[in-house]
Symmetry: C3
Subunit: 344 residues, 3 copies
Amino acid sequence: MPAIAGIGTLEQAGSREIAFLANPQYASQLATTKAGAVILSPRAAEQFGVDAAPGFARVVCAHPYLLYARIAQWFAERLTPEASTLVHPSAVVAESATLAQGVVVGPQAVVGEGVKLARGVRVGAGCVIGDHCEIGPDTLLHARVTLYHGVRIGARGVLHAGVVIGADGFGFAPDAMAAQRGVRGQWVKIPQLGGVRIGDDVEIGANTTIDRGALDDTVIGHGVKLDNQIMIGHNVQIGEHTAMAGCVGVAGSTRIGARCIIGGASMISGHLTLADDVVVSGGTVVAMNLDKPGQYTAIYPLLEHGEWQRNAAVVPQLSKLRRRVQALERSLAAASPATPSAAD
Amino acid sequence: MPAIAGIGTLEQAGSREIAFLANPQYASQLATTKAGAVILSPRAAEQFGVDAAPGFARVVCAHPYLLYARIAQWFAERLTPEASTLVHPSAVVAESATLAQGVVVGPQAVVGEGVKLARGVRVGAGCVIGDHCEIGPDTLLHARVTLYHGVRIGARGVLHAGVVIGADGFGFAPDAMAAQRGVRGQWVKIPQLGGVRIGDDVEIGANTTIDRGALDDTVIGHGVKLDNQIMIGHNVQIGEHTAMAGCVGVAGSTRIGARCIIGGASMISGHLTLADDVVVSGGTVVAMNLDKPGQYTAIYPLLEHGEWQRNAAVVPQLSKLRRRVQALERSLAAASPATPSAAD
Amino acid sequence: MPAIAGIGTLEQAGSREIAFLANPQYASQLATTKAGAVILSPRAAEQFGVDAAPGFARVVCAHPYLLYARIAQWFAERLTPEASTLVHPSAVVAESATLAQGVVVGPQAVVGEGVKLARGVRVGAGCVIGDHCEIGPDTLLHARVTLYHGVRIGARGVLHAGVVIGADGFGFAPDAMAAQRGVRGQWVKIPQLGGVRIGDDVEIGANTTIDRGALDDTVIGHGVKLDNQIMIGHNVQIGEHTAMAGCVGVAGSTRIGARCIIGGASMISGHLTLADDVVVSGGTVVAMNLDKPGQYTAIYPLLEHGEWQRNAAVVPQLSKLRRRVQALERSLAAASPATPSAAD
């Protein structure tokens, strides 16, 4: 058997690649895969059978998905080009900025006054780092990330293209005095004087935005993983290792616990508290505190359009429908007093 | 008592900071705050009592939240660094562009042909201003804002990083002639020849996009406030002082009135009309005209997942359930004709 | 009649402009339009009548909307300024990049190692093209588009500002070994080693993101049209000529067929399959396979807020309400066995 030169799926891997089986749904692909080696659990290895004499080497392991992640990291490191320069000549770096050893600043990037970049920080092409930001060791900013002034980010973070951190939170007071003069509806901006603090090992997906606090800081805990196009409002606090899928929105001042999992396109209202270990299903609107761990859901069931129309027409009459059932129960009880009622 | 040097929350402010009480929910913090001064309403001042002999100066005011906004603006101005240069040497500014007094163009920015920037306009690092745009006095573009050609913006606006204004609206005609040749599904692009006009005192949040019109313009009224990651389709019109929270989408040609408040992640279909003073709850899909002021809501109630499953299973049967209730009412009326019916 | 110098709406066009009537809703504007010419269908021309002696020339055509698209394209081309330079001096282009004839690279753009740009490719101001990307003939990248390394795009594409293609998919394995040491909730990043392949004639709206695959590629078919702020997860496959309105999210590994139409703000879960010619209504969460063509919907009906509260309160009791109706049916059947039941 040849040496392993890469990693692939069971379906696509060739004889010089290693594949993995983590999801039992794909077990049937073991019979046809052309992979040179396959990572699989002791149970899967047993089920597949010794007699099968597979064309691949079996790598039996208690946590196949985790081993796959580690091996993929090993290959990914080999794919990362060596940094050939430190600061690209087209970048604009303030004289008062401090760049530690091994820092790389890409073309067309801007690094503001008083910025501190720890060892190994990589700033991608076209990034804008506002004044007095601080970034911890080995954090990677891909192209075109924007940090407003005073943002602090920990070690080993990954920020993807289009991320914006530290823009003003959405704070406006109704102009009650203008209203007294007859000018209705005007808003007065509340300057956002707080900052953003982001822990270690945080990954932030493309075009995600995290606003700065109004007075105190917006705080993202260690190990938090945010997918693309997420919107985190001002003064939100997110606990350690919480993960959010794409398109989630969290309104201002909400506190989310540790180890939560928030499904894609969920929307969480402001000034709420979510406990540790809460799971929110994708597409769910959360408009109340969630004090206990567990999974919560609010999805309107999908139907063929005509069926949806017929059933959705009843929703605005549900309260009346319930009253009609109550009336029926009362009538029936009056008509035949011996009949037990199902209502409780 | 020392002079006031900053502003903070009741919870965090120290003896040299001023805090405020606008939300009665936080009244209990008056007993423990370390703030040097507190802004509060006459009623709150009265309830707190004269005998309490607080450690803070009371600033009694009819509109505490508004006064807080004004004081925060005062402090924010002091935090804004003086512009040290006009046009950064790394910026690319077309010779035909007109820059009035006090205009600042940041590093790596691009200003196109025929652009007119009024006095006091600040263009952040990495912005791209398309040809023939016009921006009114004292408008601030934070880093990495993109304006396509011909966008017009009023005075005192604030545009946050990642904003894109004037991209093509989503307009395609089915290619009926290709379909006749047997090629199904092809789309023909409809060039978007209109523009975008934005009034005075408009704030636009990070990564929000506003498309240009197909033939006429997309129009955003004076004083409109848009949060992050909002999507405004082509030919939308938004009335004065309307505010939208994050992640809202408005499809093409919809007209939204003045002083509306649109909650986060609401989605408004195309070709609709919303009256002045309409409030839409967060997470609501609006697919019909709203002709009267008032609050409108469409949120599926959140439940623990198992409970959600049990109840959601009934939704596709609501029409049948209503018919079953009707049948029961008819049966009961036939069985005991004297019984009054609750159905109306 | 003067020559036609432009195109406009029936409402706004003047005597030197051509307008069109595609939507019968606007037929009444024929009586008042000041347009010099109007494109309309044979039926509309007939209904409008010969006697009407309109002030405009009638352009009778089987597909008025399509003809409008073609004419608008003709005018749009005349509005596009000639490219005056090839590579702007402020752009940073790697020596190993290959630029074919007629390629234009805008100011402050970055083009990486080994990139191949075919003839007529235009790269807007501030774009970042990662190493080894390949872009087909006549594709247009507006300002500030980001392509990560190795992205392949076909011919005649249009990518709008803020687009990010090829960022890491959202892949993390729970760190089961850390958990055994008592550290709960940690995630291990799964490097995203796949790429992104985009077909010909694809348009991608402002701030839309398309992630690279984990091992295999993310694939967007020919003729696909994506609106603004769409999020396409890793390893998604989208069939030819499918169109998606703004704010749609598609989670990882989902396969969407050809000629589908996905309404705005719809959210499609991961690992699903949608057939060809599926239509999903705006605001719909899709959490199951859709095997047949047709329209599917899941929208909670909008109500005035008080009415919504009353009816939404019944949703968490629907399962119980159904049981009460069953109990009533049983009671009534027992009381009057001859009565036919409506339940089936």
